[in-house]
Symmetry: C2
């Protein structure tokens, strides 16, 4: 019952994009070194973010990654969902009773968490946390 390391890497990577320069193309090597993981692994995570539209990539020489226009409104939840997939904290419900309050409680709890994660966007970090990473 915790977020994967991949999600961690994704969050930190996105934040790093913000605190450096959202416009500039950035290769995967410097990022990988910062977090001490292999470039190919991080690349795989970044590809997930690309597919979710949370970063832009450019192949070939002088290529790299950068934030897309509109990056300011990307939320924590967006990033988490991009990496973890559509998570539902509560699964394995056999007799699928829609009235069941157990499910309702769990779903509502998850919603509360997601609400919070949705409200926090990269814009919040543009000024406030340049020293974080």
């Amino acid at each position: 019952m915790k977020f994967s390391k991949a999600t961690n890497y994704a969050l930190h990577t996105m934040l790093y994009f913000v605190v450096t320069d959202p416009k500039q193309q950035l290769g995967v090597q410097p990022l990988a070194e910062k977090m001490e993981i292999s470039p190919t692994y991080l690349s795989k995570i970044l590809t997930q973010l690309v597919k979710a539209g949370l970063v832009e990539s450019a192949s070939g020489a002088k290529g790299g990654y950068r934030l897309p226009r509109g990056w300011e409104s990307i939320s924590f939840l967006d990033i988490i969902h991009a990496v973890e997939g559509p998570v539902s904290l509560f699964d394995g419900c056999l007799n699928d009773n829609p009235e069941c309050m157990v499910k309702q409680v769990m779903v509502s709890a998850e919603d509360k968490m997601e609400e919070e994660l949705k409200q926090r966007t990269l814009a919040d970090f543009a000024e406030s946390a340049p020293a974080a990473l």
Copy 2:
């Protein structure tokens, strides 16, 4: 990023105690049959609940499990914590900066979820959901 099956079993077991008879001693076999898992496995989960003080157990003949006095105020969060341990959705933070907003966001999101889970107690299910399980 989801709750374990064990947590599921624990929640359903607790609910089952409520909808049947909170006072009566109940062996592990009937419960295990209901959820189609082995008695020893469920027993292990129940033992965790016992250690957390969420159920009472009695060894020996005519023994079994039952809810303790004050069971009405046991919350979903109590049960989850008893089985999952002290979970923190966000770990693997290396340079432990207490000012870090990333951590703050994640912790606050988790808090929101836990608040909700804390407010839902077994008492809510005493009348409302006798047909759930």
